[in-house]
Symmetry: C3
Subunit: 239 residues, 3 copies
Amino acid sequence: MISDHAVVRSEQIGEGTTIREFVVVEAGASIGRDCVIHPHVVIGSGVSIGDRVEIFPGTVVGKPPNGANAVARPIEYDRVVSIGDDCSLGPNAVVFYGVKIGRGCLIGDGASIREECTVGDQCLISRYVTVNYNTSIGDRTKIMDLTHITGNMTIGNDVFISVLVATTNDNALGARGYEEGQIIGPTIGDGAMIGSGAHLQPGVVIGNGAVVGSGSVVTRDVEARKVVMGVPARVVRDV
Amino acid sequence: MISDHAVVRSEQIGEGTTIREFVVVEAGASIGRDCVIHPHVVIGSGVSIGDRVEIFPGTVVGKPPNGANAVARPIEYDRVVSIGDDCSLGPNAVVFYGVKIGRGCLIGDGASIREECTVGDQCLISRYVTVNYNTSIGDRTKIMDLTHITGNMTIGNDVFISVLVATTNDNALGARGYEEGQIIGPTIGDGAMIGSGAHLQPGVVIGNGAVVGSGSVVTRDVEARKVVMGVPARVVRDV
Amino acid sequence: MISDHAVVRSEQIGEGTTIREFVVVEAGASIGRDCVIHPHVVIGSGVSIGDRVEIFPGTVVGKPPNGANAVARPIEYDRVVSIGDDCSLGPNAVVFYGVKIGRGCLIGDGASIREECTVGDQCLISRYVTVNYNTSIGDRTKIMDLTHITGNMTIGNDVFISVLVATTNDNALGARGYEEGQIIGPTIGDGAMIGSGAHLQPGVVIGNGAVVGSGSVVTRDVEARKVVMGVPARVVRDV
């Protein structure tokens, strides 16, 4: 059922799908079966959405990156987005072009995922999490509210990242502009857990199953299955 | 005055209320007198809004929780929302079903309040604050920008919580799933003050009138009218 | 080109400008040439937008401050907003009345800038950054995701502020209400760099070119070109 108040320019809308008032779906987008697209959603050209996906009000799927002369990194992206079956997005989430999201993911209110990122299956990207460009997130990983995931970062499967965690990728704090190869985010191994308000410095590697305590500042690599804490973080015990 | 460009399915709209362009009000919602509902607001069925309430663009009142196979906790909720007289909400705020907000509250841009929460009178829930399920907030309490309030948490009257404060409710960081009774947020007593960037660990009790310093990590209970600071936080003096 | 589904009450729309579906532009707003105003944007009366500006979905330009009986500070503001040429805003950004933004700025998803603030040229105010009232930001300054900039604060040119940084302006944590002259934010000098998750206390002065380490809590002034770290922050070396 497509509302008379929606503007739908695509004919690739699956059976049983509801499109509500004031939605805009561009030509070249495709939406699967039994989806619900709530009011005020915008779905761009080149976006492909699976079956049984629910998108809450105000979410934008398919935003071009736009530097407006103010960002250092040259921006390339594919004008496609893929959202797997059984996902829930929004309200007010933003998915940039060049993003691929697996099946059964929950993308929370206002979560914003930038270009060239991949998110696996059954992930939770919670409220107002911001994910920067070219980052890869595995399956069943949970990232809680108000956490920032930096660019050029790799996150494994079954990872838990708590609220208000900061990750960075540039020791020069922007002073040298964007030099490819110098801008490297952290790597987080499978099953690792990152406590609330922790800070992971550029390029650190968190081993599989390691635990980072709340409020820690991680300046060096953490071995698998170690627990680290403090500012700067030191090993306190095995898991 | 109801805009010709709005879709209003309820007849319970009070005298003197303005409903602007591209608003959606579902059947079974009720809105009091002298309210202003700005463009692109969505008000769900079962939502009850008092008098002289102003709701800014893009705010959603009455969102169902939706786990999409990615959250651990079984979700129950009442399909009602109550917003008291003289409140101001948004823009882009999100109020889930099962929430009750008192009179004279200011809910800031993008603040998001999940199911089964109650907020007292004259509270400020500022920009991008996220409040999790089943949390109770007293009267005249202020929670500043970008702070996360966890689930199963209790906050008293006249509390001040500064910006970028983290609270958590699960020592296992999600590793054990949702076990009822094991997932307990902090308790904050009347008149307590929590500094910017503090972290309150699961289950800690902050006594009445206590003060937590900026950047502290609170791992143990804090007695009434004590000042604590540091990582981990220790008592430094009386208030 | 103005969509038939938009509501445009102003005649001051420049040549080559596109206004998309479900946009609201109030009488008395002016928009320059070759702009793109995406769906669901609201532009208030008294707003003046330059040439080649792109505004993404759900952004609100021209929001009145609204205390709803819950904020301490008396609110005064001019019912104008000025956005310079070549800016990009949103999605879901919020620009309050009384704000002036220079040329070539990028205002990220959900960034919210309150009344009586000025932002220079070529700035980046990234995703979900919240800027409080009466704050001044210089040219070419970058403020990264999920950072809070407090009220009555001054930020110089070429400053870099990383993610999840907290700044505050009130040592009494709201306990004394709003006393003019007692509520003073930090001052950040030209070329200073503030690491992720740092906290700057009320009234501290960060000298030109100084560097604040990640996770530091800055309680005292920092001299120009010094590097400080720790909780509380101490000088560790020269830049």
